[in-house]
């Protein structure tokens, strides 16, 4: 295939081509180099297995599919084990299990109400403190703080999420609880004692301590989601509000928070999910007494803590089964809460399903 004229008889191209740059090797040189040994090897590779690629491709696809299925299978398996192992308790107590107040393993009577109450109250308390703080941090980071601080503060907030629960618990026992006992609780009793929420003996450890510790742990969850959805608000929304002569806060309120509110709610629900299932830190500071008390100074107990404390000591199948049933309830509740939160967050950020079109 030299320069001889092709059957289709092409003519010279119209435009003038500049002279080849010196960097381009002469054609004679290149032609010689084309006949390298390497080329021959390549020809062999090329013609050896015309359909060889299909088998490894489908093997790979199957392996990958299997690992994807495993994720699904694990969740199903977890659910199945929880149902299976709690069957005894489910039969014995029925729905009454969840409103029974009495938890007496010795007498064989099991009611989960004190734990449900403790879980709900401590989680609610945590959200009460964490939500405004998280939104405040997210607003500060996305809208106010200098560019250089932005990455540092985000990193530090995420670092809060990296601290193990047991270390929060340790800190709660030895630092937070004494602080509450000596200063915070006496102050609250003096000023807000009339509400009935802040009365009784001050141990330091109790519902209030659990709520505070959990609030610190939940902040990074809510703050990061809030930051994400706030960043997803288009710049032109901010500009539109600013152009109307709004102050910065008005811009944030009308241009950003309003657009991001569904996502923020999603983040809060996600934080709730985390709080409901939180185990170690709460177990270490809540006091672990299955009582329903109005005062936040009083010790309480949560669903997760009772499992943590009593599972290995549970004597008898019914006792174990009752604990697993609490686990099952926890599983179902967090499942619903997480599903709800995901749907809300996805509705804002569009999920990842639409990232690549």
């Amino acid at each position: 295939m030299s320069d001889s004229v092709d059957p289709m008889n092409p003519t010279e191209p119209l435009g003038q081509l500049p002279k080849p740059a010196t960097a381009i090797p002469s054609m004679a040189q290149v032609s010689k180099e084309r006949k390298t040994a390497a080329s021959t090897v390549l020809q062999k590779i090329r013609t050896s297995h015309p359909r060889a690629s299909r088998i490894p491709d489908s093997v790979f696809a199957v392996i990958i599919l299997l690992s994807a299925i495993s994720v699904f299978a694990i969740v199903v398996l977890v659910a199945w084990e929880l149902i299976d192992k709690s069957r005894l308790s489910l039969h014995q107590f029925g729905i009454g299990f969840f409103y029974g107040h009495d938890w007496d393993p010795v007498a064989g009577s099991f009611g989960a109400m004190p734990f449900i109450y403790g879980t709900l109250v401590s989680s609610f308390l945590a959200l009460l403190m964490a939500v405004p703080l998280s939104i405040g941090v997210a607003v500060y980071v996305t809208e106010m703080c200098p560019q250089r601080l932005r990455a540092i503060i985000s990193f530090l907030v995420e670092l809060l999420a990296a601290i193990p629960s047991v270390i929060y618990g340790l800190w709660g026992i030895f630092v937070l609880a004494p602080l509450l006992r000596e200063y915070v609780e006496p102050f609250l009793a003096r000023t807000l004692g009339w509400t009935g929420l802040f009365t009784g003996p001050m141990y330091g450890l109790g519902m209030l301590a659990a709520g505070i510790i959990m609030a610190i742990m939940v902040v990074p969850v809510i703050a990061s989601i809030t930051r994400e959805v706030m960043t997803a608000v288009p710049q032109n929304q901010r500009e539109a509000v600013l152009a109307l002569g709004a102050t910065r806060w008005e811009m944030i309120r009308m241009g950003v928070l309003r657009n991001a509110r569904i996502g923020i709610v999603g983040g809060v629900i996600l934080g709730l999910g985390r709080a409901l299932g939180e185990t170690m830190a709460v177990t270490m500071v809540i006091g672990n007494r299955p009582e329903i008390a109005k005062s936040l100074f009083a010790p309480g107990y949560t669903m997760a803590s009772v499992i943590a404390n009593e599972f290995t000591e549970a004597t008898g199948d019914l006792y174990l089964s009752a604990l697993v049933e609490i686990g099952l309830a926890l599983f179902i509740v967090t499942l619903i809460v997480n599903a709800l939160a995901r749907l809300l967050v996805w509705s804002i950020t569009g999920g990842t399903a639409r990232v690549r079109a």
Partner: protein
Amino acid sequence: MSAPSAPQQVGLIRRFTNAGATTFAVAAAILVLVPLLAIFAYLVIKGIGSVNWAFLTQTPKPPGEVGGGMANAIVGTGIILAVASVIGVPLGIGSGIYLAEYGRNRFGDLVRFTADVLNGVPSIVIGIAAYSLVVVPQKHFSAFSGGVALGIMMIPTVARATEEMLLMVPNVIREAAYGLGIPKWRTTLSISLRTASAGVITGCMLAFARVAGETAPLLFTAFGNQFWNLKLNQPTAALSLQVFTYAISPYDDWHKQAWAGALILIVLIVGAVAAVRITTSRGMLKGGS
């Protein structure tokens, strides 16, 4: 100037609200960072005094006796985490690849959703599942069952990180590889995953850091052990478990050791993340985008 017009100046109340909101946001940022700094400060101040050679090389003394250490727990944590990584990383990366490269369909959405659900399942519940799936059939607590529990917890984090990173690899890169006649599996592993590797490794490290300090799922899987154990099928001590046990004990010396153990744990977690960050950034080619 007399024509009716919108207010010329921003009203006092609006300015006041603006200042108030700004102050609140700044205060919130500070208030959130205080506990973080406090926790780290206490860890260092209270922990550093008890970290010594004995602490790092000896096993615990009987209750109430002064001295001893957490050597067995440090090693135990290492064993459990190794098992967890062997389970969690391949499955996580595999499902991440599925989600990014094959999962643009109903089943993909289902897996994505289940991964998020799994991520939200309380760790104590995963512990129960590992107990009844591994401990009950084996008839005793074991390092392996602890590893299974933590491994399961790693999967969703690794999977979503892998998916996200793979989706960030521009499609033109894949096309370039297909255009060279490289099969899909090879393109995925050697081109897409390699391009995304820094992010995928970071995701794995985050998952690792997240489970490294987990305690709840180990309570009734690894169970804890006062003595040396290097066998996978025996109860094993773990740092986090030891910190828990010592923290709620009535002994002063154990409290000190709990702080020391917590310090070691956090150093381990931060150190692991930092180490990978450094090696991945050093291994990267200069000038890469």
